[in-house]
C-alpha cells in the first residue's frame, strides 16, 4: 500500500517546527507503523536527508518508549495498544496519516517526534516507591494479600509510563499515571505505611511539573495501551483527601 505521512519535524527544543509530508510507497499491510517509519527513514537517509527521530525500543508494547499521536489519537487508532503494536493494515491505501509528538508543557519536544518525559520520572522520585531497604525484609509469604486486591494492584502496576494519558487528555493531566502508582501501593498492605506522604509528594510534584487538572472525561483510560481504569484516579483522589482530612 501507499500512504502519505504528514509528520512533525522539529530540529531541536528551540526550533519552531513544522509539518512535512512524505510519500511512503509499497508498505506491507503487515508492517508495523514504526516499521513504516523505518522504511521512510532509510529512504530519507539514502537521499542524505535527516531521518525522522522517534522513540522506540522493545516494539512489543511493554517498554513504553514509543508514543506518537497518529491522526489525532495517542498511539493511533484502536484501543489497548502502543504505537509499536499498530499495524499498517489499520489504514487504507492512499491515506494521509498525520503524526505528531505528545504535546504537553511537561513534555518538551527534543526532536521531531521525541519528547522529554523525565517529568514523569520526577514524580516517581517524589514517592513512587515503598522505602524497603535491600535485605532485612520479612518472608514473602508473611503477609497474605487477598487475591482480588493483588489483582487490582497488578492492574494498576501494568502502567508502562508511556504518557499517552497525558497526550490524550485535553488538559495534559497525569492523573492516570500518578493514580496507577498511588493506587497500586495503597492497595497493598506494605504500601500503606507511607501512603500519606506518598500521595502528598507525588501530587505536589505532578503540579510543579505543570501537568493539568483532571476533568474526569476519561480520555486517558480510552487511550491507555494497558487500559488502566480511571478507578485508580478515584482512589488517588480518595488517598489525597484522606491525607488532608486525617
Amino acid at each position: 500500500m501507499n500512504v502519505t505521512l504528514k509528520v512533525w519535524r522539529q530540529k531541536s527544543k528551540d526550533d519552531k517546527g513544522r509539518f512535512v509530508s512524505y510519500p511512503v510507497r509499497n508498505v506491507s499491510p503487515d508492517a508495523s507503523f514504526l516499521e513504516m517509519l523505518d522504511v521512510l527513514n532509510e529512504e530519507l537517509g539514502k537521499k542524505g536527508e535527516e531521518p525522522v527521530a522517534f522513540d522506540h525500543d522493545c516494539r512489543e508494547g511493554i517498554c513504553g518508549s514509543c508514543g506518537i499521536v497518529i491522526d489525532g489519537r495517542a498511539h493511533g487508532p484502536g484501543r489497548g495498544a502502543a504505537t509499536c503494536e499498530l499495524r499498517m493494515r489499520s489504514f487504507r491505501d492512499g491515506d494521509t496519516i498525520v503524526a505528531e509528538p505528545w504535546r504537553a508543557t511537561p513534555f518538551p519536544v527534543i526532536k521531531d517526534l521525541v519528547v522529554d518525559r523525565t517529568s514523569m520520572d520526577r514524580i516517581m522520585y517524589a514517592g513512587g516507591y515503598i522505602s524497603a531497604k535491600t535485605g532485612g525484609v520479612p518472608d514473602g509469604n508473611s503477609t497474605p494479600i487477598p487475591k482480588p486486591v493483588a489483582e487490582e494492584a497488578m492492574d494498576a502496576a501494568s502502567c508502562i509510563g508511556c504518557g499517552a494519558c497525558v497526550a490524550a487528555c485535553p488538559n495534559s493531566s497525569a492523573m492516570l499515571f500518578v493514580g496507577a502508582k498511588v493506587s497500586q501501593l495503597a492497595l497493598l498492605p506494605q504500601g500503606k505505611v507511607e501512603a500519606k506522604r506518598r500521595v502528598e509528594r507525588m501530587v505536589d510534584q505532578m503540579d510543579k511539573e505543570g501537568f493539568g487538572n483532571c476533568s474526569n472525561n476519561y480520555a486517558c483510560e480510552a487511550e491507555c495501551p494497558k487500559e488502566i481504569s480511571v478507578q485508580h484516579i478515584a482512589r488517588l483522589n480518595r488517598e489525597f483527601l484522606k491525607k488532608t482530612l486525617a
Partner: protein, 228 residues
C-alpha cells in the same frame, strides 16, 4: 488553615472545591424544583412558599453558602480552565478527542458559561424583585408574566438543556473527584445521576412549557419587572 490553603492550591484540592460546590448546587436544584412544582398547586400555595423562603432565617443562612457556591464554582472553574489551557500551548494538528470522550464532558465550560448567563437573567427576573424590591410582588404573578413571552421560554428551555449536559458530566465527575465513584457504586451513582441530569432539568423545563401554553390566570399583577 495552612493545610487548607495548601489543599486548595493543589490540583486535586481545586477539583474538590469544584466538586463540593457543584454538589451543593445540585442539592439546591433539587430543593428548588420541589418548591417550584408548587406552582402547579396554584397561586396561593406558591406565594406562601415563596414568602417562607424570603423570611425564614435558616434559608437566609444557607443562602450565603448558595451564593458562595454560585460564585466559587464558576470562578474556580474558570481558573482551572485557564490553567489547563496553558498545558498545551502548541495544539494538535488533528485531535480526535471525540473518539475517546462523551460530548457532555467536552463542553462543560461552554454549558457552564451559558448556565451562568442564564442565572444572571434568572436572578434578575425572579430573585431581585422578590428579595430586594421595596414592594414585593407576587411570585406566582412573576412566573406567569415571565413565561408569557415565547423567546423567554425558549431561552429558559435551552438553558435547561445546557444544564442537563452540564450535570450529565458534572454529577458523576464530582463523585469521581471525591474518590467515591468506585466499582461497587457506579451503578447506584449512575441512577442518582440520571435523576439529576435528566429528571430535574426536565422538571424545570415543564414550567415554562406549561405556563406558556396554558397561561393560568393570576390575581396579582407583576410589578417592577424587567421581562417585557
Amino acid at each position: 488553615m495552612k493545610k487548607l490553603i495548601d489543599f486548595y492550591n493543589s490540583s486535586i484540592g481545586k477539583k474538590v472545591t469544584m466538586s463540593l460546590t457543584g454538589l451543593f448546587l445540585c442539592t439546591f436544584l433539587l430543593e428548588h424544583l420541589i418548591g417550584n412544582l408548587l406552582l402547579f398547586a396554584g397561586e396561593e400555595t406558591f406565594n406562601a412558599y415563596s414568602e417562607f423562603l424570603v423570611s425564614n432565617p435558616v434559608i437566609r443562612f444557607v443562602e450565603i453558602f448558595l451564593f458562595a457556591s454560585l460564585l466559587f464554582h464558576p470562578l474556580v472553574g474558570l481558573l482551572l480552565w485557564i490553567s489547563n489551557k496553558r498545558t498545551r500551548p502548541q495544539k494538535y494538528e488533528v485531535y480526535q478527542l471525540k473518539e475517546n470522550t462523551p460530548l457532555a464532558s467536552r463542553i462543560t465550560m461552554l454549558t457552564g458559561s451559558l448556565i451562568f448567563v442564564f442565572l444572571v437573567v434568572h436572578l434578575r427576573t425572579f430573585f431581585v424583585p422578590l428579595r430586594l424590591a421595596e414592594v414585593k410582588p407576587s411570585g406566582y404573578a412573576l412566573v406567569v408574566e415571565a413565561f408569557s413571552s415565547a423567546p423567554y421560554c425558549a431561552f429558559y428551555v435551552i438553558a435547561l438543556v445546557f444544564l442537563a449536559y452540564h450535570l450529565r458530566h458534572g454529577f458523576q465527575s464530582a463523585f469521581q473527584t471525591l474518590g467515591l465513584r468506585t466499582k461497587s457504586y457506579i451503578g447506584l451513582l449512575d441512577a442518582v445521576a440520571f435523576i439529576f441530569w435528566f429528571i430535574i432539568p426536565l422538571g424545570f423545563a415543564l414550567l415554562p412549557i406549561y405556563f406558556y401554553f396554558f397561561q393560568p390566570a393570576t390575581t396579582a399583577a407583576a410589578t417592577a419587572l424587567g421581562v417585557h
